[in-house]
């Protein structure tokens, strides 16, 4: 009796952990591959490089993880950044066109300068978005729409409508190279994720971001300089997109103003949502986002391996969006699984049922929220 109740409570605690569902979905997706590719989980060594499905999932998912991590912070402030795809294109275009103009495309200094130039452009885009959102008070979805529309035009302008191909060994490293047997981009991603986590959780930035996203007016009245924070977050998001842009163009050794990073903003938003961060802002989880991005990449890989025609990829993605959103919707849970189940889910914030009964006012105040919101 007691043991069963503790296991069930432990199980409940586990299922309530914010990473439980994203990870469960990821594991499930990975397992689906096994019947089709029995050696799916095996990793082998060739030419001093590690190969295997898991490695390639992380490798191909790298740009998405980067963009999604930046997007997480923007969404946490209650915003959204639709311009990341265009920023990816601009960054790649700038870096590649600069490198292609060099006599020695392999020169490290030239490559570094090119990357710096690309990232600078990305940060400027982020600054512009942040300025419109924080200073001018324009809805994020609209403010970032501007660069989303114009940015691809700018990228094409930089590349003169062509696909610029380059041949630069150092530049190839970030997106397609290997280091310590692993794809170099994995290290880049790890570094960015580590920096982001440190930046948000080791400092008070995470708390302030969540406060701004959770209640903007209250944040102003406690003296949080939310404008500054928002501008920072948009710049950071654009920077992440910029790194992803370098990675994508490096991987293909080419800059395609039209197609680079196409729809990556949508994938990134999807990754954030799968990771459990609410689109309304407030609480965020970088870990969840990374898992979410991996889920999306694994989905793509899985579709390849199980032999479904690749063009159905988008249909599956649509299905995932729907399923994830439906599962996150309290209304849907209430309708499908019954009200009690939904209530248990909704109460994941920590207040125990006992506390709620002791405090009728609290519960009545909380309850309409579930009904209405």
């Amino acid at each position: 009796m007691t043991t069963s109740s503790t296991t069930s409570s432990r199980w409940r605690a586990l299922t309530r952990h914010h990473l439980f569902w994203p990870v469960a979905v990821l594991v499930l997706l990975l397992l689906v591959n096994v019947p089709f590719t029995p050696d799916f989980f095996s990793v082998r060594m060739a030419d001093g490089h590690l190969y295997g499905s898991l490695v390639s999932i992380v490798l191909f998912g790298s740009p998405l993880i980067l963009v999604a991590v930046g997007m997480t912070l923007v969404i946490a402030t209650g915003g959204i950044d639709l311009s990341v795809g265009a920023v990816v294109a601009i960054t790649g275009a700038l870096a590649c066109s600069y490198i292609s103009d060099q006599h020695d495309q392999g020169a490290l200094s030239g490559v570094l300068l090119a990357m710096g130039l690309g990232l600078l452009a990305a940060v400027v885009c982020g600054l512009w978005n942040g300025f419109l959102v924080a200073r001018m008070g324009i809805q994020p979805i609209i403010a970032t729409l501007i660069i989303m529309v114009a940015g691809r035009g700018v990228a094409q302008l930089i590349t003169d409508g062509q696909i610029i191909t380059i041949n630069s060994e150092p530049y190839k490293l970030i997106g397609g190279g290997y280091w310590l047997t692993l794809p170099f981009s994995i290290f880049v991603v790890a570094a960015v994720v580590a920096v982001t986590v440190a930046l948000t959780r080791r400092t008070a930035l995470g708390l302030l971001v969540e406060a701004v996203g959770g209640n903007a007016e209250a944040s102003r009245l406690v003296g949080i300089r939310s404008r500054r924070i928002k501008i920072m977050v948009y710049m950071f998001c654009a920077l992440c997109a910029g790194i992803a842009g370098l990675m994508i163009s490096s991987n293909t050794s080419a800059a395609d103003g039209n197609n680079a990073g196409l729809w990556i903003e949508l994938d990134a938003i999807l990754a954030v949502v799968i990771g459990g961060t609410s689109l309304l802002g407030g609480r965020f989880s970088i870990g969840g986002t990374v898992v979410g991005a991996l889920v999306i990449q694994t989905l793509t890989t899985t579709i390849y391996t199980i032999g479904v025609p690749t063009q159905t990829n988008l249909v599956f993605k649509a299905a995932v969006v729907i399923v994830v959103c439906l599962l996150q919707s309290p209304k849907f849970r209430a309708k499908v699984f019954g009200a009690k189940f939904a209530a248990r889910f909704a109460a994941k914030g920590g207040a125990k049922p006992a506390a709620a009964t002791a405090d009728p006012a609290a519960a009545t105040e909380a309850a309409p929220k579930m009904e209405v919101s």
């Binding site: 008070a204 009245l221 003296g223 609480r283 109460a347 914030g349 506390a355 009545t364």
Partner: protein
């Protein structure tokens, strides 16, 4: 004397939310041609009962009988069609549409599906005229102040079921705290209207926190407490003391302790000096001196400029004129940061929209102001943070005493305490409390008032705003009286100062 048949009868009403029974076995009757008050403290179940009646919530048990027929009300639309109309405290209209449209939307006069705009405007103008209101019905609703929008909402609700003669017309009119944002003239206008409707046989359910208004206009009242029915009484049979005892379920006394408290007469040096501070559309320029350890209470009607004054002193709104010095130093007041830096703290009257971050935990909400002043690069060390939070949770008796609980799930009183803790932790020199006791239970109310007294004794200055004059009188050393967005008098508190003296000042605009 045979009682007439009630137009509305609710019997054995049960409504449950996860983990709590908001209404258990409540009976409620409403007779045609009466004004019926629904009374109860916060959390008593008033709004839940109204929401059940108007179809916002579904029923978990019990029956509703309207005009002798058992009805099921599944949506606000159904409620309206059945003849139950509601006017809520917040104006639930569409600010982007014209006044006329707001009155008629959903039942616009149409011919072959085409809206007859001329007829709509004409009829709206007639309705508005008949009620003696001076409103241009073709102007967008957003061009009018809240009080007028409220009246439009009532006009709309009266018009339910009229229009093309479809539907039975309004039988039951629910007015859920309609008076909280109206000034006295507007209240009288509303009451006149209510009485006329009563003569026409409409049953009016009236909710108001102002006891005087209840006694002025109501015939009968139903009292709820903790989701159960306490009693139904004729207003003439129950005096105010009896009513309050029913609502609270206990004898008064908790608040009386404070009456014994001696006010400190010797306040210290000047802390805050405001000279000619003002803002167009907010408050006329005023001078105000706040001494160290002094409690200044602001008295005045709703909308008299109390909140506006407080917001200027905090930099929440930017002043157009004047200057503020705090502790001898000029403070620019262009943003809350300036005031916070100078040691000012502000608990807004709107806890939910301007105070708490509901998704964050109690701990995070408590440290927010302190952390904001330190900037994001310097987080408060974990040990120090936990100690501070634990200290204030204990000191203010925040329940549940769990720093990890989400603040959105706390009761109103505890949320208010979290806000207080948030600011006390920053050790402010001046604490501005805008209606800190509004909407919280009586126990928490007394605790907060006691806290104000002890803070003042420790040397903190407090600017205290409350709707109840008694509360202001009880706590303040000096009372600032506001009228029509003007600070008209500053009165030193003393034994000779009574609520009626303050009321006179508010009414006349000058202090003798």
């Amino acid at each position: 004397m045979a009682e007439p048949r009630p137009v509305l009868e609710m019997a054995g009403i049960v409504k449950e939310f996860p983990g709590v029974r908001a209404l258990s076995d409540v009976d409620f009757r409403l007779f045609p041609g009466e004004i019926h008050a629904l009374m109860g403290e916060n959390g008593a179940g008033k709004s839940t009962l109204i929401k059940v009646l108007t179809g916002v919530y579904s029923l978990d048990g019990g029956t509703i009988t309207l005009d002798g027929r058992s009805v099921r009300i599944a949506s606000p639309l159904q409620a309206q069609q059945a003849g139950i109309s509601t006017v809520y405290q917040e104006v639930n209209l569409c600010p982007n549409l014209s006044v006329a449209e707001n009155i008629f939307i959903g039942r616009e006069p149409t011919r072959m599906g085409r809206i007859q705009w001329k007829r709509l405007r004409r009829e709206a103008a007639e309705l508005v005229d008949r009620l003696g209101l001076d409103i241009d019905v073709s102007a967008p609703l957003s061009s009018y102040p809240l009080a007028v929008q409220q009246l439009v909402a009532i006009v709309r609700s009266l018009n339910t079921g009229a229009g093309d003669g479809e539907g039975p017309g309004t039988k039951v009119l629910i007015l859920d705290e309609p008076t909280s944002s109206l000034d006295r003239d507007e209240v009288l206008q509303l009451f006149a209207l209510m009485r006329r409707l009563k003569e026409e046989g409409v049953a009016i359910l009236f909710v108001s926190h102002f006891l005087d208004q209840i006694y002025e206009v109501c015939d009968r009242m139903t009292v709820l407490r903790n989701g159960t029915l306490v009693g139904e009484h004729m207003v003439s049979d129950l005096d105010q003391v009896g009513l309050v005892q029913l609502m609270l379920g206990k004898a008064m006394g908790q608040l009386d302790e404070l009456h014994e408290h001696q006010l400190r007469s010797d306040a210290g040096d000047t802390l805050v000096q405001a000279d000619g501070l003002g803002r167009t559309g907010g408050i006329a320029p005023f001078d105000l001196e706040i001494r160290k350890g002094e409690v200044i209470g602001l008295a005045g009607l709703l909308g008299s400029g109390r909140t506006e004054l407080a917001r200027l002193l905090f930099g929440a709104d930017q002043p157009d004129t004047g200057k503020v010095t705090i502790g001898g130093r000029r403070v620019s007041m262009s943003a809350p940061n300036d005031a916070i830096g100078a040691g000012v703290a502000f608990c807004s009257e709107n806890r939910k929209s301007e105070g708490l971050v509901p998704d964050l935990t109690v701990r995070e909400n408590i440290i927010l102001a302190l952390q904001a002043s330190r900037g994001w690069t310097r987080p408060i060390p974990v040990a120090q943070r936990d100690e501070l939070v634990a200290k204030y949770i204990k000191a203010l008796d925040i329940r549940p005493a769990n720093p990890e609980a989400r603040v959105g799930q706390l009761s109103g009183g505890n949320q208010q305490k979290v806000l207080l803790a948030r600011w006390l932790i920053t050790q402010p020199k001046l604490l501005i409390l805008d209606e800190p006791t509004r909407g919280i239970d009586i126990g928490a109310k007394a605790e907060i008032q006691k806290l104000v007294v002890s803070l003042s004794e420790e040397g903190m200055s407090v600017l205290y705003i409350a709707a109840e004059l008694e509360e202001v009188l009880r706590l303040s050393h000096t009372i600032g009286v506001l009228r029509d967005r003007r600070l008209v008098a500053q009165i030193a508190n003393g034994p000779e100062i009574t609520t009626s003296r303050i009321l006179e000042t508010i009414a006349s605009g000058e202090h003798q």
